[in-house]
C-alpha cells in the first residue's frame, strides 16, 4: 500500500462521540486528529491505548488501532504495545482519576522507564463517568458527592511530579486553546522517550467550579513567558509552583537516551516477526549449561 494523504478527517472514526455537549474532550480529540495529520502519520501506524472514564472513550473516536483497557492501566498496556512493536506511534490517554488516581504509580514508573510513548491526560479535576466525585486533582475544599463538605485532601500536582521524577518532556495544554494544544501534541509525539501532556479539559456537567472561563482567566501561557526556561528543571519547578500549576505551554523538554537503548539485543523491530521456534542450535546451547 502506498501511503495515502492524511488530513485530520482521516482520524475521525465511524463512531460519534457520546461526550456531553461542550465537554473539553472534544477539543482534545480534535487536536489529536490535527496533530496526527500534521505529523503525516497514517491511522494504522498509531495505537491509542486509553483507560476508563469519559476521557478513556477517546480510543473509540480516534480512527487508529485502539486498545481501551482497565481503569488506571493505560500506561502499562501502552508500554507493552510499544516494546512489542516500536514501529507504532503509541499514545496513552485517560482522565485525571485514571492517570493520577488509581494509575498514579504507573505514571511515576512510566516516567522512570522513559519509553517512547506520549501520555495525554484529560484533566477535568473530577470523576466524570462515575458522576462527579472528587478526583486527585480536585482542589482542596472541592464539593462533590463523595466530599459533600469539601475535599479534605490537597490536590495532586502532575506537572511537578513529572519534573520531580525526571520526565524528559512535560507540557500542559488547554482544550480551548486548540492551536497551542496541537503544537504541544506534535512536539510530545516527536519527543523521543516518555512525554506527558496534561490537558485541561473541562467537565461541563460535574465541575461547575473549574469552568472554561475559570481557566481562561487563570492559565499562564508559558510559551509567551520570556523568563521561563524549559531546559532548566529546577526553575521550571519553581515556575509551575509560582503559578499554582495553572500554566499552559511547554514546561520542560530535554531529550535523553530512551529505555530501549539500554536493552541489550533489542532489535527495534516488531516482536510479531520474532515468533518462531528457537533454533535447535540455540536451545542446545541453552541446555549445555545444565548438562
Amino acid at each position: 500500500m502506498s501511503a495515502a494523504l492524511v488530513s485530520p478527517k482521516s482520524f475521525v472514526s465511524e463512531e460519534r462521540p457520546t461526550w456531553c455537549p461542550g465537554c473539553g474532550d472534544y477539543g482534545v480529540l480534535q487536536a489529536l486528529q490535527r496533530a496526527a495529520a500534521q505529523l503525516g502519520l497514517q491511522p494504522h501506524e498509531i495505537a491509542v491505548v486509553s483507560g476508563i472514564g469519559c476521557s478513556g472513550k477517546i480510543s473509540s473516536y480516534f480512527n487508529a488501532y485502539g486498545l481501551h483497557v482497565l481503569h488506571g492501566r493505560s500506561l502499562p498496556c501502552a508500554i507493552g504495545v510499544k516494546m512489542a512493536n516500536p514501529n507504532l506511534t503509541v499514545i496513552a490517554a485517560g482522565g485525571d482519576g485514571d492517570g493520577f488516581g488509581i494509575g498514579g504509580n504507573h505514571f511515576l514508573n512510566a516516567i522512570r522507564r522513559n519509553i517512547n510513548i506520549t501520555y495525554i491526560v484529560m484533566d477535568n479535576q473530577v470523576y466524570g463517568l462515575t458522576k462527579g466525585q472528587t478526583s486527585p486533582t480536585s482542589a482542596h475544599g472541592f464539593k462533590s458527592t463523595t466530599s459533600p463538605a469539601g475535599s479534605a485532601e490537597n490536590p495532586m500536582h502532575p506537572l511537578r511530579l513529572a519534573l520531580a521524577n525526571g520526565a524528559g518532556f512535560i507540557a500542559q495544554g488547554f482544550s480551548a486553546e486548540r492551536s497551542q494544544l496541537v503544537d504541544l501534541m506534535v512536539r510530545a509525539i516527536q519527543h523521543k522517550g516518555f512525554s506527558l501532556l496534561n490537558t485541561i479539559s473541562p467537565c461541563v456537567t460535574f465541575n461547575k467550579v473549574n469552568t472554561y472561563d475559570w481557566y481562561r482567566e487563570r492559565l499562564h501561557n508559558l510559551d509567551e513567558d520570556g523568563s521561563h526556561n524549559p531546559a532548566d528543571r529546577a526553575s521550571a519547578f519553581a515556575k509551575v509552583m509560582e503559578h499554582g500549576d495553572l500554566v499552559r505551554g511547554l514546561v520542560y523538554a530535554e531529550e535523553g537516551p530512551s529505555y530501549d537503548e539500554f536493552i541489550p539485543g533489542y532489535t527495534g523491530g516488531s516482536m510479531a516477526d520474532m515468533v518462531k521456534r528457537a533454533d535447535a542450535a540455540l536451545v542446545d546451547k541453552l541446555m549445555a549449561e545444565y548438562r
Binding site: 486498545l67 498496556c77 507493552g80 504495545v81 512489542a84 520474532m274 541446555m287
Partner: protein
C-alpha cells in the same frame, strides 16, 4: 549395594548450603545417576536453618525422599531439625565436635572437623569440599567429578586455590576412611549410564527455556519467590534473541504490559506467585474479555497473604480457576515434572494464540525450585501455532473490507489482525462490545458475544489427564503439579505390595476434563485426591464437575512437599476405608 541414596546438607543460610547441594547433585548427574534436589530455606537472607536434600538413584526420581541416609550437618540445629527423617542406619556427618543426636535410634554420629580441616588448609570456605570428600568415602562415589568441578570453578583463581580445594576433598575422604571405613550399606551401584541426553535443571529455568523456545520475546514481572527465577533466567537469555524483560512496578502493571505486548503481536508473558497472582485478577478479565492472548505462570507458594513465602503449597488453585469477576474463557494447564515445565510452557503460547484468552500455567514451589534430572528437551516437539492470526498479503486480502475483529464463528474463535496493519483498523475494548469491537450495551449482542467467547474453549487440544497404570484399578491416586512425582512413587510401592494402583495426573485443570476423569475413575476400588492445601480445593473442583461424593483426600499444608511415603500411608487408610483428613 544400593540403587538409591538420599543425602542432605544443612546449615545456616548464607553459608552456601544450596551450592554445596548442587555441587553434589551435579556430580551424581555426571556419573549417570538420576537426581532430584529439594531446597528448604527460610524467608530471611542470612542465618536460620536451611538444607538441601539430594536423591540419587539408578532410576528416575521425581520427589523428595521420605528419609535421609546421609546428613551433613554444619550445626546442631541441622541435626535437630532433620533428625526425624533419619532412619536407623543413617549417618550424620557433623562439623566439629560436641554435636548430639536427639535420641538413640541406630543413627551414626560421625564428627568430622570440616571447618577446621578447611581452615588448616587455608580457607574455612573449603569445608564444603571436605564434606564432599567425606561423602565420597561413605558412598563409594568416585572423586573425579568433584575434582573436575574444582578445576572449573577455581581454575581462574589460580592453581593454588585449586590445589587447596583438592586437598580439602582428599582430607575429608581420609578422615572418614580412617574412622568409619567403607560404609558398605551406602555404597551406590554404578549407574551404568552416561548422563548423555539428560539435564539437571530447575523447573523455573525449564519453564523459561520453554517460553523462549516457543517464540516468547517479552516478559514483564515483579520479583517474587518462587517465581523470580523465571524472570532472572529470561533476563539473562532474552538478549540473545531480541527479547525484553521489564521489571514492572507491580504485578498489575506486569500483566497489563504482557497483555499490551500480546495485543501488538508478540508472544508475551508474566510470572508470579500467589500475592502477585491475586493482584492480577482484574487484568485477567481484560485478557478474557478482549480476547487478547496472554500467558501467566503462577508458581504457587504457601499462602494466604504473605504466608510462608519460601514454602511449597498448591493453595492458589481456587483462584486460578475461579478468580476475576464475571465469566471469561480461560485455560489452565499444570506441568508435573521439570521436563513437563518446558513443554507445557511452550504449548501455553499456542493455546493462548489459538484460543485468544488467558492461559495460566499452574506451577508450584516444589516444581519450580527443585533441581532434578530431566531428559534433554526435544525442540522438534515444540510447534508454533499462532491460530487464527491473519498475516501476509494473501490472508489479509481475503478478509479486507469485511473484517470484524470479534466475528461470530462456530468455534467462537475470530480471526485476528495485528495493529499496524494497513486497512484493518479496529478497537479492542474492555467494555462489552459488538462483533467489530464497538462498545455496546445491546442485550442481544451481549448474550451472543458472551456465548461466543465461552464457546472458544469447548475444544482445547491439550491433554486433560495423564494416566499411569491400568484402569480400572484398585486404587486411583489423583493429583496435579509437583505432587505427581510422589504419587508415581507411592503407586510403585503400592503396586509392589499388590494393590493395583493407577495415578491420574490432571495436566489440564480448565476447561476441566470431566469426561476423561470420570472414565479414569470408573470402576476404581478407591480414589485418593492428593493436594498441598488445607481445604481440598482440587477435590471440590472435581466434585463440582463430576458430581458424586467428595473424594477422600490427603491434604498437606505445612509448607513441606508431600512425600511418597505419606501418600502410601494415607492410601492404605483409604483402602481400609478410614477417612480422617480435615475437609472444610
Amino acid at each position: 549395594m544400593r540403587t538409591e541414596l538420599v543425602w542432605k546438607v544443612g546449615g545456616q543460610q548464607g553459608e552456601g548450603i544450596d551450592s554445596t547441594g548442587i555441587v553434589f547433585l551435579n556430580a551424581c548427574h555426571s556419573l549417570g545417576y538420576y537426581t532430584f534436589g529439594y531446597r528448604h530455606f527460610m524467608s530471611r537472607i542470612k542465618g536460620g536453618h536451611t538444607n538441601y536434600q539430594v536423591r540419587v538413584a539408578t532410576r528416575p526420581v521425581y520427589a523428595v525422599g521420605d528419609q535421609t541416609d546421609i546428613l551433613i550437618a554444619f550445626d546442631q540445629e541441622s541435626i535437630d531439625y532433620n533428625f526425624w527423617e533419619l532412619p536407623a542406619g543413617a549417618f550424620v556427618i557433623a562439623d566439629g565436635f560436641g554435636a548430639k543426636l536427639p535420641e538413640e535410634r541406630g543413627v551414626t554420629l560421625a564428627e568430622v572437623p570440616l571447618t577446621k580441616i578447611a581452615s588448616d588448609l587455608g580457607n574455612s570456605l573449603m569445608k564444603n569440599m571436605v564434606a564432599m570428600g567425606a561423602t565420597c568415602e561413605l558412598t563409594g562415589l568416585p572423586v573425579e567429578p568433584f575434582e573436575m568441578f574444582i578445576e572449573r570453578q577455581f581454575g581462574r583463581k589460580g592453581q593454588e586455590v585449586v590445589k587447596a580445594n583438592l586437598e580439602a576433598l582428599d582430607a575429608g575422604r581420609k578422615y572418614v576412611r580412617e574412622r568409619w571405613g567403607h560404609q558398605a550399606h551406602f555404597k551406590l551401584v554404578d549407574s551404568g549410564m552416561k548422563p548423555d541426553g539428560r539435564l539437571v535443571i530447575e523447573g523455573d529455568y525449564a519453564a523459561g527455556m520453554g517460553a523462549l523456545t516457543a517464540g516468547c520475546r517479552f516478559l514483564a514481572a515483579y520479583p517474587i519467590t518462587p517465581a523470580s527465577m523465571i524472570m532472572e533466567y529470561l533476563a539473562v537469555h532474552f538478549p540473545k534473541v531480541g527479547g525484553v524483560v521489564i521489571q514492572a512496578e507491580d504485578e498489575i502493571a506486569a500483566l497489563c504490559m504482557a497483555i499490551g505486548a500480546n495485543w501488538a503481536g508478540a508472544r508475551a508473558m508474566t510470572s508470579t506467585s500467589g500475592p502477585g497472582f491475586s493482584l492480577m485478577q482484574e487484568a485477567i478479565g481484560l485478557s478474557g474479555l478482549t480476547e487478547t492472548p496472554v500467558v501467566i505462570v503462577d508458581v504457587q507458594r504457601a499462602g494466604p497473604a504473605t504466608g510462608l513465602p519460601t514454602k511449597h503449597e498448591q493453595g492458589d488453585l481456587n483462584e486460578i480457576i475461579y478468580g476475576s469477576h464475571g465469566d471469561i474463557p480461560r485455560i489452565v494447564i499444570a506441568p508435573g515434572t521439570i521436563e513437563e515445565c518446558f513443554y507445557a510452557m511452550a504449548e501455553a503460547f499456542n493455546l493462548a494464540d489459538k484460543h485468544q484468552c488467558p492461559v495460566i500455567v499452574a506451577m508450584d514451589l516444589y516444581l519450580g525450585m527443585s533441581r532434578g534430572t530431566a531428559n534433554e528437551f526435544d525442540v522438534s516437539r515444540v510447534r508454533v501455532d499462532r491460530g487464527a492470526l491473519l498475516s501476509g498479503p494473501d490472508a489479509l486480502a481475503k478478509v479486507r473490507g469485511q473484517f470484524e475483529r470479534f466475528a461470530d464463528t462456530p468455534s467462537g474463535i475470530s480471526p485476528r489482525v495485528l495493529p499496524g496493519t494497513p486497512g484493518f483498523i479496529h478497537l479492542t475494548t474492555g467494555d462489552e462490545h459488538t462483533w467489530n469491537g464497538r462498545i455496546t450495551e445491546d442485550t442481544k449482542i451481549r448474550k451472543a458475544i458472551m456465548d461466543k467467547r465461552l464457546r472458544k474453549i469447548d475444544e482445547v487440544d491439550y491433554p486433560g489427564l495423564s494416566v499411569r497404570g491400568d484402569v480400572p484399578a484398585d486404587l486411583v491416586l489423583v493429583g496435579f503439579g509437583a505432587t505427581t512425582g510422589s504419587l508415581w512413587e507411592a503407586a510403585d510401592r503400592l503396586n509392589a505390595g499388590g494393590t493395583r494402583t493407577a495415578v491420574v495426573q490432571l495436566t489440564r485443570l480448565w476447561p476441566f476434563p470431566a469426561e476423561e476423569l470420570t472414565a479414569a475413575l470408573d470402576g476404581a476400588g478407591s480414589v485418593l485426591v492428593v493436594e498441598s492445601n488445607a481445604t481440598g480445593q482440587l477435590a471440590h473442583l472435581i466434585r463440582s464437575r463430576i458430581g458424586g461424593d467428595l473424594l477422600p483426600t490427603l491434604l498437606k499444608y505445612d509448607g513441606d512437599p508431600i512425600r511418597p511415603g505419606e501418600v502410601e500411608m494415607r492410601a492404605k487408610e483409604v483402602i481400609a476405608d478410614v477417612s480422617g483428613a480435615r475437609i472444610a
